[in-house]
C-alpha cells in the first residue's frame, strides 16, 4: 500500500491506499476511510494506523487463543472436581445431586470452548460471567473466607478471559475494516 501521489484531488478516480473507486468530491475513501483530501501528516498517520493493525493482529489472536484455552482448562478442572467428588461421596445417597453441578459446568465450558472459534466474543463473555458467579457461590458457601492461592487463580483466569474479550473486539474491528476473513 502506498500513500499520496502528485495528482490533483479533483481528478482522483481510485483510492491511493486500497485502489477502491472514489468520486472527485469525496473527502474519504468509502471503502477504507483513507483521507483523500487530508494533509500529508493525516495520510501518514492513517498508513501507520493500518500497519499497526496488521502488526497487532497476531498478538490479539494469541490472546484470543489463551482465552479459548482457559475455557477448556475450566472444563477439565470441573471434570476433575467431579471425579474427586465421585470417589469421595460414592456411598452418599445424594451423589447425583452433588455431582450434577460439576457435570453441568464441565459441559457448559466445553460447549463455550467449542464455539469460541466461531463466536469468540459471546463465548468469552459468557464464560467470564459464569466463572464469576461460580466463584461468588463458592465464596458464599465458605462464609466469605478465601485464601491467597484461590485469589491468584481467580485473577489469572479472569485476566485471560478479559484479555480475550478485548482481543476479540479488536480482531473483529480489524477484520471488518480490512476485509479480512
Amino acid at each position: 500500500m502506498e500513500n499520496g501521489s502528485e495528482t490533483s484531488p479533483q481528478s482522483v478516480e481510485s483510492c491511493h491506499f486500497c485502489y477502491g473507486p472514489v468520486n472527485s468530491d469525496d473527502n474519504h475513501c468509502a471503502k477504507c476511510s483513507y483521507p483523500l483530501k487530508g494533509s500529508d501528516d493525516e495520510k501518514a498517520a492513517f498508513v501507520l494506523r493500518k500497519n499497526a493493525d496488521q502488526i497487532n493482529l497476531p498478538k490479539f489472536k494469541n490472546k484470543s487463543e489463551n482465552a479459548l484455552g482457559t475455557l477448556y482448562f475450566l472444563a477439565g478442572f470441573f471434570m476433575l472436581c467431579a471425579i474427586i467428588v465421585f470417589f469421595q461421596k460414592e456411598e452418599s445417597a445424594d451423589l447425583l445431586a452433588i455431582l450434577l453441578p460439576y457435570l453441568i459446568l464441565t459441559i457448559l465450558f466445553l460447549i463455550l470452548g467449542s464455539y469460541a472459534k466461531q463466536k469468540p466474543l459471546a463465548c468469552f463473555i459468557s464464560g467470564l460471567c459464569l466463572y464469576i458467579i461460580i466463584e461468588v457461590l463458592v465464596v458464599a458457601e465458605a462464609h466469605f473466607s478465601t485464601n491467597f492461592i484461590d485469589i491468584i487463580f481467580n485473577l489469572i483466569v479472569i485476566g485471560f478471559l478479559v484479555n480475550g474479550i478485548r482481543a476479540s473486539l479488536e480482531i473483529e474491528r480489524i477484520k471488518k475494516e480490512n476485509d479480512l476473513d
Partner: protein
Amino acid sequence: MSENTPKDVEITTCSQCGGEVRLNSKFCNYCGSRLSANSDDFGKSWTRLKEAALFYGIDIVACCLASFVGIFKTLGWSLFFDILMAISAILFFAYNWSENKHLLKWKSFSFLKLSGYAAIAICCSVIVHYSVGWLNVVIFNKDENYFELLRGNLAAEVFLIFFTAVMPALFEELGYRGYLLQNLLRIADKDQAIYITSFLFAIIHMSFISLFWLIPFALFLGYTRVKENTLWYGIFIHFFFNLTACVFQILAAH
C-alpha cells in the same frame, strides 16, 4: 449527493456528520466514520461493555446477597432487592434513552399475535412446571413452593403474583432485552448479542438444573424482541409464563 453517483444507488445518512452516503459503503466519504450497524470503534465498544458489566454486576450482587447471606434471607430483604434491581433496570435503560426509547412503542401490535405468544408461554410454563418438579423430586428429594414464604401475609396471592409475575416481566425485560440487548447489538452481531443476553439472563437465576429451560426461554424472548422491535410482546410472554407458575404454586399450597 455527488453528481457522479448513479441514480439507482441506494442512499443512507451518516450518523456522525449527516451526509448522504451510498448504502453499501463501509465508511462515510465526507467524515470517514464507519457506517455499519454496530459501528462503534474499540473505545466505545469497551465502554459499552463496562457499562453492561456494571449493570450485570449489580444484579449478581443483589441475587447473591438475597440467596446466600443469612441476614438477607427474609421477605422484606427479598422485596428490597427486587426493587433495587428494578430501579437499576430503569436507570440503565434511561441512560441510553435515545437508543432505547423506540422499544417502548408498540407499532406492530396485533391481538392475534399477542394471544398466540401468550398461549405458547402458558404451554411452556406448564411443561416446565412438571418437568422441573419431577427433577427436583428425583435428584434433590424436595419440592419447592415459593408461596410458603408469603403464607400468613395479607393478600399473599396478590403479593406472589405482583413480585413473581408482574415485576420480573416488566423490569427483567426492560433490563435484559431492553438495555443489555440493545447495548450488545452495538458491539456484536444479532446472534451473538441475543445469545450473550440469554445466557447471562439464565445464569443469574442461580439454578443449574433450570438452565435446560431458562436458556431456550431467554433465546425465545430475545429473538421475539428483535423480530418485533418492541419490548411489549416479551413482557407479556414473560408475564403469562410466570403467572402460570404462580397459579400452580397457589393451587398446590391450598
